[in-house]
């Protein structure tokens, strides 16, 4: 499947900004089952300097220096991506979770894929015992790691209510967990906290998901959104496997990866200090269009 994705971010400031440094993580990466066919990035006003780097976790990081006075910053990304992920992994074939834990503890690698990076608490996923005990129930001794992880994913989907009003970007996982409400970011963080709590490496994936309009309705322009899910490490032999707790499904050809990290803080799409502005307003529009 090939997707054409348009991702528009629009900042409006309360006052004129004369100088700004920011970092974007808006250009997608290739990987297993995912090939980037083309990308374009358009920024208004034109930056004085644009530097592109790969961050530690392999994401594309764009540093901008804007020296033109402006009250509006527009970032538009257009991407075409081909997705072909193949058959999902058989959970019974994965090792027991305690064996996976043992392998993760003993990891002898600091490569970007190493489980060691995704084993410990991170900025937005602190240790939280109630989530750990919640997760523990899905992992009786000896259970194959993917079986446990999938059950945890189903439970999150069943026990939590999708509610865009319940949380904001900065809501701690403890609050979302107590409320049993939130959005994809909260569910992903909670699932990651549970898995790490019992010693299993888990990563945060941001990206897009194909939305299918109700029968007879047209797809609404700009109505898609960014999405987030979880990748769980299933041992040296199987590596990383994607699970989407919001939709209770394994990652397939409807999921498009934008960036990966330990949690949202590692991959937040726009980071930057805007000098001279008192208030700012942000608007994001996403279109994910499958080619027919």
């Amino acid at each position: 499947m090939i997707y054409d994705i348009r991702h528009l971010t629009l900042y409006e400031y309360g006052s004129t900004v004369t100088f700004s440094h920011c970092a974007l993580r808006l250009l997608p990466i290739g990987g297993p089952g995912q090939t980037v066919l083309s990308t374009s990035l358009r920024i208004t006003p034109e930056p004085a300097q644009t530097i592109e780097r790969l961050c530690f976790f392999g994401n594309r990081l764009t540093f901008l220096t804007i020296e033109t006075a402006h009250r509006k910053l527009i970032v538009e990304v257009n991407t075409s991506i081909a997705i072909d992920r193949g058959e999902p992994l058989d959970e019974a074939a994965t090792p027991a979770f305690d064996e996976v834990r043992r392998q993760a503890f003993a990891s002898a690698s600091l490569d970007k894929e190493s489980p060691a990076h995704f084993l410990h608490p991170s900025r937005l996923v602190p240790r939280y015992e109630p989530v750990t005990s919640y997760a523990r129930q899905s992992f009786p001794a000896g259970r194959p790691v993917l079986a446990g992880a999938k059950e945890l994913m189903h439970r999150i989907r069943d026990d939590f209510k999708y509610d865009t009003k319940a949380t904001v970007v900065s809501t701690p996982i403890s609050e979302a967990f107590e409320k049993r409400r939130g959005v994809c970011q909260d569910f992903a963080h909670i699932m990651i906290a549970g898995l790490r709590g019992i010693g299993l490496p888990a990563a945060y994936i941001s990206g897009y998901i194909r939305t299918i309009p109700p029968p007879g309705k047209k797809r609404l322009e700009g109505a898609d959104a960014m999405h987030a899910w979880v990748s769980v490490w299933c041992g040296e032999a199987h590596g990383w496997v994607g699970l989407d707790p919001t939709n209770s499904m394994m990652i397939g050809n409807d999921h498009i990866v934008l960036a990966q990290g330990r949690d949202y803080a590692d991959i937040s799409p726009v980071a930057g200090i805007i000098l001279g502005s008192r208030e700012q307003d942000v608007d994001v529009q996403v279109d994910v269009v499958p080619r027919v």
Partner: protein, 839 residues
């Protein structure tokens, strides 16, 4: 035998008796080694030598010297802030130093030198090739568990080639008599400045004792450290900055102190900006390159773009500047990863592997529980061990902020811990429990043993690692050795390393040929300029308010207390104080209450005491730029005005207090005029004073020299601007409107006139640096030239309140223009809060 010789002999007998008494009265804690009393139960020779000399002072002389030391600490403002404190605390210094003999010190120094070399190699490997990870010598999960392992820095070679520039080790002496490493400080070790301050205080209180004991000097170490930083830069005359988290940090005093001592530019994150892969300081002369940054902020806060996005302490883009090699950071970002207790467990093995040597100073035996074998042995030996969070964090799953003592855990806690170890052993480290030695403190005329931790510093220099001969010693307030961070009851001690022979006074001054003569000192960061400006303005406001108060008190004394007639001088002075928000309106009918409120009250923001507090706060942000005397005087000023508000204040008392405060302000002005280098800093400070004096004088003139002002009002005005004597000598007739107006507003020879302030402001603005060389006037200068022309061409007869108000508003406009041109703009502004009714 002469009489004095007899006395001396008698003193010696007394001294010997007192040493014997002190020694006999000193009992080490049971089962705990001690610095003073050896394992054989006998006092150690160097301690006896010290006590012999100390006891040569009579008890009263000694107490006087101790008191001098304490006063010195208070006066120079040696202080720290406990976490969460709003105000600083005076530094508690033990009167007895920790003594270490030369031979023993050599072993410590060699051990620390080796450890510094080792840690540098380990850091380079972790952030570089990762061979220790690949070989399994250092488990990846033990590295990534530390929040100080910073992914964006992986693969970034530190500009200058070194990770560690200053490194510290906490050590303690175990029961076997050896010194043990308790912890590594590789991030941004604090305490070296306190060690220096402690030395200064104690050496000054007991100069002869200090000399006779052959104490090693600290200065060469600091000089070597500074040279080490300099050698890292790519330019020959580099700009070296000390990056501070700001005045609310626990150890801000120390940072300001070291910046001044080492001649570094003290900056906050907002002072720095990254452009084109280099870091610049925002100064009043535009952007100036920062070559080397000694950071006292934690790595994670250093760059909101790639590290902690919520940090306001860092520099956006700093990590990328490091990638580009554009700036040297000491220590490298991410160096703190080595502070994790988990790391200690690997050091003996890594030392053998990387250096082919055994650790010269052993570290406390540590087991990282992420490894199966280590976990098993920790579970088996739990009763002999302490269990710590593996990464310097509190033990996960347990409420205590301190490591758990295995032997004192309940059965339930033990089984909980064993389960936690099985699930996430990576989070825990087991550590040997060691009884560390005690050292004597002076307590009510006796010596008493107290546990301590010694922090020793190593600096990287072109000649290799240099170890500070001395250190920062923290002594526990209790006999329990386990918690010795600065907090309630903890004091610090100077550390005397005793050389075998007299220590030469090494001159640190470089030879003539190596020094390039310079007259302009450094660069003035915009934020510092901002605070200097506001210090000047607040001082001037305090002075104007105090002059009003003094004048009011004196009129009340002359006219007798009681209700003031409307229109009288007393009533006018009162109403001016109320409109300046020095006193609440409610006091309008009670002049005595009004005076008390204007002096000491905190109900209105314009009271003298609150203005002085604003001045003190502005000063506290730029402490490294003020002389000790100035800082002391500002403290005195604050104390003079901070008094018990209950209890009535007589007219004469009010007059006295205002007068005393004005004398201190005069002393501050005198210091500024006579002692402050005429650099940009002085000009900005003085410009702040001149602007506010001009504004206040305009206000005085409008209030007391309006068209129909009675003679009494003009008289008050002459008092307020200190011009009585000049006026009387110049004009033999009584006070008249035009001569008074001329003297107060237009006379360029009167240092209190508006015109005089305008001339000084023009001089300052002419001398301050320009941003561009296009020959165009910058806005502040254009404004002052206009104003100067108006003032120079005006005549007393043409003056009226409207014209004077025009001058006043021009000066207010000038203040804004100065701020816009020279000071920091944007969200990083770290200026004093400008709450005042005057501008």
């Amino acid at each position: 035998m002469s009489r004095s010789a007899t006395n001396r002999a008698k003193d010696e007998v007394d001294a010997a008796a007192r040493v014997a008494k002190l020694t006999a009265g000193y009992t080490p804690l049971p089962g705990i080694p001690d610095e003073f009393i050896g394992v054989d139960g006998q006092p150690r020779a160097h301690w006896l030598r010290f006590l012999d000399k100390l006891m040569e002072f009579s008890a009263s002389d000694m107490n006087r010297r101790f008191a001098t030391a304490d006063r010195h600490i208070r006066d120079t403002g040696v202080s720290y802030r406990a976490y969460g404190d709003t105000s600083e605390r005076a530094w508690p210094l033990s009167h007895v130093p920790l003594l270490i003999e030369a031979g023993e010190w050599r072993e410590i120094a060699e051990g620390i030198e080796q450890r510094a070399r080792l840690l540098e190699l380990v850091l380079a490997d972790i952030y570089g090739e990762g061979r220790l990870i690949d070989s399994g010598d250092l488990p990846a999960a033990a590295v990534t568990g530390s929040p100080e392992f910073l992914h964006p820095l992986h693969g970034v070679k530190p500009p200058g080639g070194k990770f560690l520039h200053i490194y510290a080790v906490d050590i303690g002496r175990g029961p076997d008599g050896r010194w043990w490493v308790l912890g590594d400080r590789s991030q941004a070790p604090s305490g070296a400045g306190y060690a220096l301050a402690n030395r200064l205080v104690l050496a000054r209180a007991f100069p002869a004792l200090y000399r006779d004991m052959n104490v090693e000097r600290l200065a060469p170490f600091f000089e070597a450290f500074r040279l080490g930083l300099t050698s890292m830069a790519q330019r020959s005359n580099p700009r070296i900055c000390l990056l501070t988290p700001g005045p609310f940090n626990e150890t801000y005093f120390e940072q300001a102190y070291l910046a001044r001592y080492l001649g570094l530019l003290l900056v906050e994150g907002g002072d720095l900006t990254m452009r084109d892969g280099k870091v610049n300081v925002r100064t009043i002369a535009g952007l100036k390159r920062a070559d080397v940054i000694w950071r006292r902020i934690d790595s994670d806060f250093a760059d909101p773009l790639e590290l902690n996005a919520h940090s306001r302490l860092g520099v956006p883009g700093l990590v990328d500047a490091l990638r580009e090699g554009g700036v040297v950071i000491a220590n490298a970002l991410g160096s703190g990863v080595l502070e994790a207790p988990a790391m200690m467990s690997f050091m003996p093995k890594l030392c053998r592997k990387l250096l082919g040597e055994e650790l010269r100073l052993p570290n406390i035996a540590t087991w990282w529980c992420g490894q199966e074998d280590a976990r098993q042995s920790v579970i088996e030996d739990m009763d002999e061990l302490a269990i710590a969070g593996a990464y310097g964090n509190p033990v996960p799953g347990f409420a205590s902020s301190q490591p758990l003592i295995g032997a004192s855990l309940t059965a339930e806690e033990k089984s909980r811990l064993v389960a936690a170890l099985a699930e996430r052993g990576v989070d825990y480290a087991g550590q040997e429990v060691v009884n560390l030695s005690t050292t004597p403190v002076w307590h009510e005329g006796r010596l008493e043993p107290r546990p301590f931790v010694l922090r020793v510093y190593a600096a990287h220099t072109p000649q290799g690692w240099k170890i500070m001969p001395g250190g920062f010693c923290r002594i526990s307030g209790r006999t329990d050795a386990r918690a010795v961070s600065m907090g309630e009851g903890v004091q610090s001690a100077d550390v005397w390393v005793l050389a075998d022979k007299p220590v030469e006074m090494v001159s640190l001054l470089p030879t003539d040929e190596t020094v390039r003569i310079r007259r302009i000192m450094g660069t003035l960061p915009s934020r510092a300029a901002d605070n200097l400006f506001w210090l000047g303005r607040y001082l001037e406001r305090s002075e104007a308010t105090l002059r009003l108060i003094r004048c009011l008190a004196s009129r009340m004394i002359e006219t007798g207390a009681g209700a003031a007639n409307p229109g009288s001088a007393v009533s006018k002075l009162s109403s001016l104080l109320i409109s300046w928000h020095a006193a609440p309106r409610a006091t309008a009918s009670n002049a005595m209450a009004l005076v008390a409120a204007a002096l000491h009250g905190d109900e209105e923001y314009g009271s003298a005491v609150l203005l002085v507090r604003d001045a003190r706060r502005a000063a506290s942000f730029i402490r490294e730029r003020l002389s000790t005397d100035t800082w002391r005087l500002i403290g005195d000023l604050n104390r003079t005005l901070t008094v018990d508000m209950h209890g009535a204040l007589a007219e004469a008392e009010a007059y006295e207090r205002a007068d005393a405060a004005l004398r201190i302000i005069a002393a501050i002005s005198g210091l500024a005029q006579e002692n402050m280098n005429r650099g940009a800093g002085w000009r900005i400070f003085d410009a702040g004073r001149r602007i506010d004096r001009g504004i206040n004088t305009c206000r005085f003139a409008r209030h007391f020299a309006s068209g129909e002002a009675p003679a009494d009002d003009l008289d008050v005005l002459l008092d307020l601007v200190d011009s009585q004597i000049t006026y009387r000598s110049r004009y033999l007739m009584g006070v008249n409107l035009n001569p008074v107006r001329d003297m107060v507003v237009l006379d360029p020879f009167n240092p209190r006139s508006v015109a005089f302030q305008i001339e000084r402001l023009d001089e300052h603005l002419e001398t301050l640096p320009l941003l561009s060389d296009d020959g165009m006037l910058e806005t502040p200068r254009r404004l002052i030239l206009q104003l100067a022309a108006e003032a120079a061409t005006a005549t007393a007869a043409s003056l009226n309140n409207e014209k004077i108000l025009g001058f006043e508003q021009s000066l207010l406009g000038l203040a804004d223009a100065v701020a816009a041109r020279y000071f920091l703009q944007g969200p990083h502004v770290a200026r004093a809060d400008k709450s005042s009714g005057l501008a």
